[in-house]
């Protein structure tokens, strides 16, 4: 059984490991700093010419296939697929699940979906429901723009704090036993809202949630930055990450260069002519975890990593109704033994 530490952090005593990951991204991410690490870099027109939604679904399926291939598993070996994306009614993941035809839980946590999926998958294994579970999340620049912002070809000047939605799908196979880093603890995030309303400034909106979750993890497991090789937030980008880092500092937790963000890692800062702050989107945390963090854990370059996907839980409707942006962050700790 899981052991509860503090108010919202849990420690597992059973052997839950990440045994494989898959990460597939689009061409803009494919020329970024992690270009050599992804399983696949696909152009939209290569995998579907019908719609961007179909492209994203196929991209997610491709990441599933890579993860299963690397672990020498087939769909039937996975007891449950858990995942989500940014689109209304989480259609991308549901349509991918239609192709897989295996037990499926669709979840929504905005850009924090990957954290939530990992936690639910870990719970499924801990409780004995599953031996192997797949956790995934996905986002695509063009489908997200359509849903949250303006038509692609509209000539609008981006705000200085705007982030670019990562075109990427990532997944991780969790297993009871096996070879790979162990999931030792997680903190279930609570919704935090410090009143930021600007849809083009989601990093600032999510930073307090990230700080809150990281502080909770630190306090309840009695750790600090020194105990981790890397603490990685999901998609705060430069502005949000700076805020989170200063908030943590104000509480007495100073990092030593081991605090980073998937949204910052995914693009070449200042060189790629896109939103200069970095990436956002549900696919940010999952594709970077699959391409960058997991291999480093496997070859023991990193031994203890906290992944904190961050999510902004608004919709276009609530934004038009002048509501502020409620945010959440879920933390998962991976450790080599």
């Amino acid at each position: 059984m899981a052991i509860k530490l503090g108010s919202q952090t849990y420690k597992f005593d059973s052997d839950i490991r990440v045994i494989s990951t898959g990460s597939v991204v689009g061409p803009v991410e494919g020329i970024g700093p992690l270009r050599n690490l992804y399983d696949d870099i696909v152009r939209d027109e290569d995998i579907s010419s019908d719609s961007f939604e179909k492209v994203e679904t196929n991209m997610l399926l491709l990441s599933y296939r890579h993860a299963m291939e690397k672990a020498a598993l087939s769909e039937n070996d996975i007891d449950i697929f858990i995942g989500g994306d940014l689109l209304n009614q989480i259609v991308v993941t549901a349509f991918a699940a239609r192709e897989i035809a295996r037990p499926y839980w669709g979840i929504y946590g905005a850009c924090a979906t990957f954290g939530e999926a990992l936690q639910v998958a870990a719970c499924a294994i801990e409780s004995g429901i599953a031996q192997k579970a797949m956790a995934s999340s996905s986002s695509h620049f063009s489908t997200a723009e359509r849903q949250y912002r303006t038509p692609l070809e509209q000539g609008v000047q981006p705000s200085v704090t705007a982030q670019r939605t990562v075109t990427g799908s990532g997944c991780a196979i969790l297993s009871k036993g096996g070879v790979g880093p162990k999931i030792t603890a997680f903190t279930i995030g609570k919704v935090v809202d410090f009143g930021v309303k600007d849809l083009a400034d989601m990093g600032s909106a999510m930073a307090p949630a990230a700080a809150d979750t990281i502080l909770t993890m630190f306090e309840s497991t009695r750790t600090n930055f020194d105990d981790y090789d890397l603490v990685l937030t999901g998609d705060l980008a430069t502005v949000g990450h700076a805020i989170a880092s200063k908030l943590l500092e104000s509480e007495g937790y100073q990092h030593s260069g081991n605090f980073s963000d998937c949204g910052i890692l995914v693009y070449e800062h200042g060189k790629q002519h896109i939103a200069d702050t970095g990436g956002s989107g549900a696919g940010s945390a999952s594709s970077v975890f699959g391409a960058y963090v997991f291999p480093k854990l496997l070859n023991r370059e990193l031994n203890k990593v906290m992944l904190v996907p961050t999510g902004a839980l608004m919709s276009p409707v609530t934004t038009y109704q002048k509501e502020s942006i409620p945010s959440i962050a879920h933390a998962v700790v991976f450790e080599n033994d």
């Binding site: 509209q154 609008v156 200085v160 809150d212 805020i243 200063k246 104000s250 509480e251």
Partner: protein, 156 residues
């Protein structure tokens, strides 16, 4: 509607948040943005004026104005559909959409965007998603002006 009292830590974070946010947010370089808007917007107007001068050789003044407008809309539509106009807009901001070009761009880009939902529920229904409010406010304000005009003449 706080059911629980706010935990102390969150209160502390809240008290420092706005200051930290302020100092972490990059400043907007309004000068260079304005300059870019001025140069691009001005160039569009100069090009339109040159075109108009040329057309006036063949048509009267009113007609030449109409043809110039049509030319601006046509060029914008073409540039939008080949994926150039969004880059101009990204660079120039208001400079590229204050002339009638912005209006044309918003309609064409919406039509392209929603093509995948079909001709009726996609293009037909959503083509004016961005431009719609502009048209509505145009109609409402012309209606208001009409009423004022009516009463001004009524008095006479």
């Amino acid at each position: 509607m706080n059911i629980n009292k706010m935990p102390e830590r969150e209160e502390r974070l809240r008290s420092v948040f706005s200051e930290i946010k302020e100092e972490s947010t990059p400043k907007v370089d309004s000068f260079s943005r304005s300059l870019r808007a001025f140069i691009v917007g001005g160039s569009i107007c100069v090009a339109a004026q040159v075109f108009r001068g040329y057309v006036e050789n063949y048509f009267d003044e009113t007609e030449a104005g109409i043809y110039t407008t049509i030319m601006l809309i046509f060029v914008t539509a073409v540039l939008t559909s080949i994926g150039v106009f969004d880059k101009i807009g990204r660079f120039a901001g208001a400079g590229s959409y204050v002339p009638i070009t912005g209006f044309a761009n918003s309609i064409v880009s919406s039509a392209i965007e929603f093509r995948s939902e079909g001709m009726i529920f996609g293009v037909g229904a959503l083509m004016f998603k961005v431009a719609g409010p502009v048209i509505v406010s145009g109609i409402v304000s012309s209606w208001l002006v009409g009423i004022i005009y009516f009463f001004m003449n009524f008095k006479r």
